[in-house]
């Protein structure tokens, strides 16, 4: 059930009403959330329910058993069981075919005539998200940072909580789980802001991401048919497509949870306003980057074991992060690019601060940092090419053509903008992207929602109506066009 589907438009209001009817009785409410979350997840494929149930049961009992014992070895063994089971599931469903193909390709390099026989495995939607969420539970108990819950229903509901089940934010048990034991009071302002956030998320997804996808897919799926200028435009559009697609999902998830009194963590913070790549990763997919920080980077030693280990740890984390996104070399390269640039940033930090402390440069106001924004955006776009391309070869073709075949004269040619859609669509798309950036800039400075709440009702309602109408008129939907969110595949 997609957030941008009629099914969800029917499902959510029903769930919302029933939820508030049962909200006062915590156990009943959690049971209700579990049932609707399983229904939500099962609507993709009922067989997926066995996986999530198995993962939840195992981690619930491992958590409980771990808390009962103080024997370190036993605790470690239990953690390993949890890690092996969860990561094993992930590896089997997500990476089996990748490993088979890579293995066979490696042998072919040495002249072998092995044929790759891949398995028919369906990737369960959102498996990367909920396995990380349950892992955080057992790891935190192992580290004695969290008390295990005795309420199985609440734990199951926490793992399968439908707003963030299939594409995050990846919640920590320490943040989300206690909310399942609190009474949620009906708060009009909270619900209003949740609904507004959902509308904003739908706007990002349906108006920007899905329309940008038309151009991007046409160019990236037909690499030989386009010129360097089109590749460059498609890459910039992809940057906004993936941002609006994923942050749109997060907004809907956070908004939907908020209408039921739950607080989910912020997942994006205007990433394309980042002034360094480090800054970018503080703003992009925050729940994943902090997960990797807490459960991979720091256990590896973080930045406390010398420069070499710090750089190596950074690189490892980003390669793993790339691999988490998808079982393909393009994702690994994407992660490696980010890792290498972050290493460079870290290495250049002392030099940078020396320069910045120079008496002349000290006088330059801080806002001049914004000059870094386009540079960081270009670096991010460069890496996105690998993320989106259908293969490493295609990625290199696109990058080399974007550099050698980029012509200013092509920018004057209307055909450059009408790949897959009309010029009006291109104008509308770019206008909405500009509008989004302006809105985010205002939001970061003044807080858009608080400005809105201070307005008179007619102004507020007019704006709500404009958002709804914009989605209806300019959104991409209908005739099977309800597009999946990109992050569902991860």
């Amino acid at each position: 059930m997609l957030f941008n589907s009629i099914d969800f438009a029917i499902f959510f209001p029903i769930v919302f009403i029933l939820y508030w009817i049962v909200a006062k009785k915590i156990k009943l409410r959690n049971f209700f959330l579990l049932v609707v979350s399983y229904y939500f997840y099962g609507s993709w494929d009922w067989r997926f329910l066995f996986l999530i149930a198995a993962s939840s049961i195992l981690d619930f009992y491992i958590g409980k058993t771990m808390a009962k014992t103080e024997v370190k070895k036993k605790r470690k063994l239990l953690l390993i069981i949890s890690l092996v089971f969860n990561l094993g599931l992930l590896c089997y469903f997500k990476y089996t075919n990748f490993f088979i193909e890579s293995f066979v390709n490696t042998f072919r390099l040495f002249g072998s005539t092995l044929e790759a026989t891949t398995l028919q495995i369906i990737l369960p939607v959102g498996i990367s998200f909920y396995t990380f969420q349950t892992l955080s539970y057992t790891i935190d108990i192992y580290r004695n940072k969290l008390e295990p819950t005795k309420d199985a229903i609440a734990f199951f509901a926490f793992v399968s909580f439908f707003p963030q089940l299939v594409a995050g934010p990846i919640e920590r048990a320490s943040h989300l789980l206690p909310q399942f034991f609190k009474t949620h009071k009906f708060n009009y302002n909270q619900i209003r802001s949740g609904l507004l956030l959902m509308a904003f998320g739908l706007f990002k997804k349906m108006v920007i991401a899905d329309r940008a996808a038309i151009y991007v897919n046409e160019v990236y799926n037909n690499v030989d048919d386009h010129n360097g200028t089109s590749y460059a435009i498609a890459t910039v559009l992809f940057a906004f497509q993936i941002y609006c697609d994923f942050s749109g999902y997060s907004d809907i998830a956070i908004g939907a949870a908020r209408t039921m009194g739950f607080d989910l963590m912020k997942n994006f913070k205007s990433p394309y306003f980042a002034v360094s790549l480090t800054d970018f990763w503080r703003r992009w997919h925050i729940s994943l980057s902090t997960w990797f920080r807490d459960y991979v980077y720091i256990p590896l030693g973080g930045s406390k074991k010398g420069n070499f280990r710090t750089y190596a740890n950074l690189f490892i984390v980003f390669v793993v992060s790339g691999f988490w996104h998808g079982a393909a070399w393009t994702f690994i390269i994407w992660g490696a690019i980010h890792g290498v640039i972050l290493m460079s940033e870290k290495a250049l930090l002392p030099v940078k601060s020396k320069i910045a402390n120079h008496s002349l440069l000290k006088q330059i106001p801080k806002w001049c940092n914004v000059l870094y924004i386009p540079l960081i955006f270009m670096i991010v776009c460069f890496a996105w090419v690998f993320f989106r391309a259908n293969g490493v070869q295609n990625a290199f073709t696109i990058i080399s053509s974007s550099i050698t075949d980029f012509k200013i004269s092509d920018l004057k040619n209307i055909e450059t903008y009408t790949i897959g859609f009309t010029i009006n669509e291109f104008i509308v798309l770019t206008s909405f992207i500009c509008l989004l950036l302006i809105a985010e800039a205002i939001h970061n400075t003044f807080g858009l929602f608080s400005i809105l709440q201070k307005q008179f009702l007619p102004i507020r309602w007019t704006l709500y109506l404009v958002i709804v109408m914009t989605i209806i008129i300019f959104g991409v939907y209908g005739d099977g066009k309800d597009a999946e969110f990109i992050y569902f595949q991860f």
């Binding site: 009629i6 009906f186 009006n424 309602w461 109506l465 709804v468 209806i472 008129i473 300019f474 209908g478």
Partner: protein, 473 residues
């Protein structure tokens, strides 16, 4: 919670109202189907005397202006392309929510035609198989509309034109043109203009038709149980709402008729049998009378199929027969609530000659010959394929629109579409005009020619006689 519920309901109402208000600007009024329903809503309530319900055969087969002119009634044509009798029943229900007709003409092609959708108008799950040209949202939002949408599981997709046509902004030029087009002419006038088509079958079309007619089959022409059931429902409505029913068969191409004559006779008999059981149900089978019409009466269309649609000539003929039948068989006391004048209302009236202005016009050029204007007649020769007339006159107002009428007798008045005026010179108010039409769109005989000058703002017509009579050989 109550505050949220009230505000949510109010917001939803506001959003839906906006959607429906804006929806009007999204409907494609280029289609005759949309215009048909628009004409229904433009008509003052309970003012239509005659309603025509049918599909493309009656849309491109009957000119309501001719019926109104001859019967002094107000007629609406609610015919939607490719509709089955089930859709016709639904369309009639919609009509009856707005009008109390005295006569409803039901076009019989959906009963006679052998298309699967006509004989089996429901799919496996029992939903109506809708014509691709029939959109529920062409109908005004209301109980009947909602009921029909729910019955057919199309409430969301089909009720909101705003959503269905949301992509119009992608072609702004086309959209602007459409919005511009809907200003000015009423839907009824728009339909009237749209059906005046003059390109008839040519030799290649005739050959192509000959090659496909072997696929026609009399056995496939039957009135199915579903059709009978919905026809009975229509008859029930006629009794409930107290109107008379006329089962009209619009003519087909004579070669078509000959090929499956047996099927036509069989279905015609069935329809007559059904009609004979009810006092208020009449039949008029124009096919039976003429055994179809010749190729000059049928439109040259892209696809050559069992479906043939009439040219303006065919429409004039068919409508006059229908109008005469109505005059003879029904004494309709018209509501007289719509008093606008049309060229048809003037020219099908016997006293039209009293309305002509004293200034008669000379033809300057006829079929590329200049000397003809000296004579009192202009005449075609057998090898002529077109009729081309050039002339000039001084309009009373430069904004006035002009049309040329070819009057043969009281059953055949050909009124052209609006003709473009060409300014003669800067110093003179005189304007030139040219008109050209295929000769086969007029029947053989003698014609009086009248230039009609229309003041659109005052709905007033001035008739300028043309000195020369036309003899069509």
């Amino acid at each position: 919670m109550i505050k949220l519920a009230i505000k949510s309901i109010l917001f939803i109402i506001l959003a839906i109202t906006t959607i429906f208000c804006l929806g009007y600007y999204m409907i494609n009024f280029n289609s005759t189907s949309a215009l048909a329903f628009k004409s229904l809503y433009e008509q003052p309530k309970n003012s239509a005397d005659i309603i025509i319900i049918g599909n493309s055969h009656s849309m491109r087969g009957i000119d309501t202006e001719i019926i109104d002119a001859k019967c002094k009634t107000s007629t609406l044509n609610i015919s939607i392309a490719e509709t089955s009798i089930v859709e016709m029943y639904n369309n009639l229900r919609e009509v009856l929510a707005y009008q109390k007709p005295k006569l409803v003409i039901i076009e019989c092609w959906p009963l006679i035609g052998s298309r699967r959708v006509y004989n089996l108008p429901f799919n496996k799950t029992g939903e109506i198989i809708y014509s691709q040209y029939n959109e529920v949202y062409f109908k005004k939002f209301g109980l009947i509309n909602i009921e029909e949408s729910i019955e057919n599981n199309r409430l969301l997709e089909e009720n909101i034109s705003f959503i269905d046509n949301k992509d119009k902004w992608q072609n702004l030029e086309k959209w602007q043109k459409e919005i511009k087009n809907r200003k000015g002419l009423s839907a009824k006038e728009n339909i009237h203009n749209k059906i005046k088509l003059l390109r008839s079958y040519d030799s290649t079309h005739i050959k192509a038709f000959d090659s496909i007619k072997a696929t026609f089959n009399s056995d496939k022409m039957y009135i199915s149980d579903a059709e009978k059931q919905y026809l009975a429902k229509i008859i029930e409505l006629s009794k409930e709402y107290d109107f008379k029913l006329l089962m009209l068969t619009v003519p087909v191409y004579d070669e078509h008729y000959k090929t499956v004559e047996e099927g036509f006779i069989k279905t015609s008999k069935e329809i007559e049998e059904i009609a004979s059981k009810h006092e208020n149900v009449y039949t008029l089978d124009i096919n039976k009378k003429f055994k179809g019409l010749d190729y000059t009466h049928f439109l040259k269309e892209k696809h050559i199929t069992e479906n043939q649609h009439l040219t303006y000539k065919g429409i004039i003929k068919t409508t006059n027969i229908t109008a005469n039948f109505i005059k003879e068989n029904f004494s309709i006391q018209p509501y007289n609530k719509t008093n606008y004048i049309t060229p048809e209302k003037i020219l099908y009236h016997t006293d039209w000659q009293n309305r002509i202005s004293k200034d008669s016009i000379n033809i300057l050029e006829f079929n590329n010959k200049y000397e003809v204007f000296k004579n009192d007649t202009i005449s075609t020769i057998p090898k002529d394929r077109t009729i081309s007339i050039k002339s000039a006159f001084t309009p009373t107002n430069s904004e006035n629109k002009i049309q040329l009428a070819f009057i043969k007798d009281e059953d055949f008045v050909f009124i052209s579409k609006h003709i473009e005026k060409l300014k003669k010179s800067n110093n003179s108010n005189e304007v030139k005009f040219n008109i050209s039409l295929p000769k086969n769109q007029l029947s053989k005989g003698n014609y009086s020619l009248i230039l009609i000058e229309e003041n659109t703002s005052s709905n007033n017509f001035l008739l300028h006689p043309i000195k020369q009579k036309l003899i069509l050989q």
